[in-house]
């Protein structure tokens, strides 16, 4: 099992008492699966994503990736897991504004100490159709182009898992579809596990499994894993 959670729970203390953001969740995702997590705003989708990716810690329960329990790791070790195994795509792209497209894509590989980061980044950017725009800064690119840079960045370390948080949420429909196509195409090619948070039902349908989050409770809506 690539991703496994047991009784994963997230609570926060507010002025009005304890707020259960995530009710105990048991979830298993195998390598190569594509999983969509759908649900209304504030239902806890992004919180689950942050726990699965080791960006945040659970109040109780466990998350393990590749049989490593993230709860047993400190911040540094979790960063290492992310560097080695995880790629990200965000709704707001989260590119570093002062780095060019090429440098943004190179960044994770460089942080992981890969020698041929630049070569890999060039190839990926060419693949996403931005071979001519390597030296452009994020603010010189359109939203769709920025997200394509983000996709290239997500794939550079050949991660085992790709987490995507509303990857087309900031894009118009046409651009959004193109980005979706690209994302699934590259995912298929690399055989990466994809965990995607979205409220777009059409997009969710392209995944093998659809999980629905409702007020912190997760239920499986459909499972088309062959």
């Amino acid at each position: 099992m690539l991703i496994q959670t047991t009784q994963l729970e997230k609570k926060v203390t507010t002025q009005d008492g304890i707020l259960h953001i995530l009710q105990p969740i048991d979830l298993s995702i195998e390598a190569g699966q594509t999983v969509a997590i759908v649900g209304a705003s504030g239902s806890g989708k992004s919180t689950l994503l942050s726990l699965l990716a080791g960006l945040d810690l659970a109040s109780s329960g466990d998350v393990s990736i590749d049989n490593v329990n993230l709860g047993d790791l400190d911040e540094e070790q979790r960063a290492k897991v992310r560097a080695e195994k995880i790629g990200f795509i965000f709704q707001s792209f989260l590119l570093i504004p002062s780095l060019t497209a090429l440098e943004n894509v190179m960044l994770p590989a460089e942080l992981a100490g890969h020698k041929n980061a630049e070569q890999q980044a060039r190839e990926l950017l060419t693949k996403v159709g931005l071979g001519e725009r390597l030296k452009h800064y994020p603010n010189q690119l359109s939203g769709g182009e920025q997200q394509r840079v983000a996709i290239a960045r997500a794939f550079i370390g050949t991660p085992k898992i790709l987490f995507a948080d509303e990857p087309t949420g900031n894009l118009d429909a046409t651009t959004g579809h193109k980005v979706e196509d690209l994302l699934f195409e590259m995912n298929q090619e690399s055989g990466t596990t994809l965990v995607m948070v979205t409220h777009d039902a059409e997009l969710a349908k392209r995944c093998q499994r659809i999980l629905k989050m409702d007020a912190g409770r997760l239920t499986e809506v459909s499972n088309n894993v062959a």
């Binding site: 540094e76 960044l107 800064y137």
Partner: protein, 841 residues
Amino acid sequence: MWHKISWRLLRHELKRGELTIMAAAIVLSVTAVLSLSLFTERLQSGLLARSAEFLAADRVLSSRRPIAEDWLQQAQQRELKTANRVVFNSMAFAKDNLALVDIKAVSDGYPLRGSLRTASEPFGEETTVINQLPGEGEAWVAAALFQELSLQVGDTLEIGQSKFEVTRVLTYEPDVGFSVFTDSPNVLIHYDQLEQTGLIQPGSRVRYNVLFAGTAEQLDSYYEWLAPQLNDDTHNWRSIEDGDSPLARSLQRAERFMLLASLLGVVLAATAVAVAAQRYCQRNYDVVAIFKTLGAERRQIQRIFILHLLLLTLISIGVGLLLGWIIQAQVIEFVAAQLGAELPAAGLKPYVLASATGFVSAVMFTLYPLLRLIAIPPLRVLNRELTGTDKLRWLHWVASAGTIYALLLIYSQQWLLSSALFAGGAVAAVLLLAVGRFFIRASRQAGMQAGSAWRLAMAGLQRRAQANSVQMLSFSTAIMLLLLVLALRNELLADWERQLPDDAPNYFIVNVAPDDVDQLEQRFAARDIESNDMYPVVPGRMTAVNGVPVRDEVTKEAGGDEADTQTNNAEQREGFGRELSLTWRDDLPPNNTIIAGEWWGDNPQPQVSIEEEVAERMRLSIGDELEFNIGGNTFTVPVTSIRKVNWGSLQPNFFMIFNTSTLEDFPATFISSFNLPKERQSELYDLFKPFPEVSLIDLDAIMEQLREVIDQVSIAIAFVLVLVLVAGVLVLLAQVQASMEERQQELVILRTLGAPAKLLSRSVTYEFLILGAISGLIATLAMELSLWILQTQVFEMAATIHWRFWLVGPLAGAIVVGTLGRLACARLVRRNTAQLIRKLA
């Protein structure tokens, strides 16, 4: 790999202008410190060189015995310029008249600094004499002697066994000094003519001087060689800074002011760095969160950002050094042109100081924001509100305060000055925090009242109370420092003005016979000439203190002034003559204040009042019994008061003043001073013709020199003021810009909801107006406190309250901060809403 990422970030960010504020702040701090310290150092050495004219040399060695030839050779070997000057009293004869004169015999090269001026007839038009001295058989004679001996140019003057032809009227000698007790006019002859006068005999009262001029290093090296061979009883080594003359005082004050203003510049620049450092780190929160999400380890992030900051700092320091040098060179060129003099080059110290300031402030002010930056949680990529821990905030305050105090101390090397400034700042900070609290308390009822611009502004102020109190801290600091420099400059200039008003006395008269006093006063009145009181002078000696005979430690003009350059005083300083000029008076003279004991009033018992410094040197206190001998009569008198005397005032001042009944029966002559405008100089001859025994001392030349020095210092002060002003505005700008970013989101929301641009820009303007006015008010209070300490402790001036600033401070604060806020807001409001939303996303 991390260094590549770091360098890449820096390169792009610099190119894209994202680091402008941080870089500008460091550049500013380095530029300000470098140009200020280079400028002050060069100007000071320039001023010293200029003031050296008052000695006619950089250093003077005087002695009662001829100075060994070997000592001169040693000086010449060190490439110092030297000249001999021998001064003594003698009788001079002309046309069957005789007079006591001061003979000054000088060798080639004299004066080494400054120049002589002469005229072809008494009180005629004067010309500057360059590289020229009286030739063989020639003498140049002071105007007063022409009067006394009824001389004319071309007449013969007999001195000792020699006859001299009077070829010029000596109108100005740079080293003439100011003493009013030199009652004999000067005669200048060449050193080579001295021997044939036959006046120098063993036991003659002669003052031998050697003048030296050269660089500070040459002079120091020579003095190092010379010092062990000097005998304190016979030798005296002096520079212009020694002493208590109006000039020395003005110079010292100017130096302190420049130092202080530079210090304030340093603090302002450091504040700019502090404000910018905070922004620098906040701007990178997202970047760090992304790095962490992408798997960067803490160590990698640390290294990347520390290197980033170091590179940024080093580049900024480099730019700052270059800019500071250019500015300083331009100003120096301008000032040098104004002064008509070259200013000597400065050493390496200013460069080191400037680089250190930039480095220390960049590192120390970034310390806490950087720690916070590195601790940013990766989850910020999903939740933008997360800004990490705030637990180490105290570290920020300690580091920032410590850095500012350390910079002050390093720069001034004076703990009192540094502490005064620091205390002023601390009071401002505490006040601001209190005001911030007040706003927080008041903010409970405040909502988002978008109806009118004023209400929106007030609501905004209250909602951002915490942030605002921090902003006000930098606004107030900047305003306070600006006010401080401005107030101090005004005080200093006013003080100098008081010292040298346009109607300051420019002539002293001495040796007025008692019978002539009334007549002379009538003549002054008839010609509408303003004169000071006539002071009687009785020559006398102090012979014992509390029954213990006084020997060499008792000195006459112990306080000294430029008169030191003259025979009489220098002799008396060494206890040679021990004759004092005593006076009596009913009232306390102007410019004198009693610091111990009481002035006598009507009490007829014998009493004496002593000048503070004499009392200190001779260890005299109230109640001590002093014994005096006047013309063979001995009497004892108790010290009943000690006075502080303003030696800068151009009026007769005395070390010892007696009550009238004690001295009035002794024979006395009178002295006074008066003001006669230069254009009426020709009247002098007629005015004093009936009083041949009265000697006239022209102070115009001296005062002119003093004015010139003060003018130069004023130029310098104006420059410093401009630099500090620029630094202050930059701090304000940096702060406004930083706070604008905080306001951005709210503005975007209001704009999206359809709030008119006018309403928004007005409300922001009002908010900054109020912030500026409050900051200005607090700044004024803090300024008064600092100024009170500075005036009383550092500048030795009377403390005053500056009511004008209580209006100027809040008003200027409101206008400047309000305007800057409006400008920053205008840019934001001009953009269309879609652009703004994208920018925020």
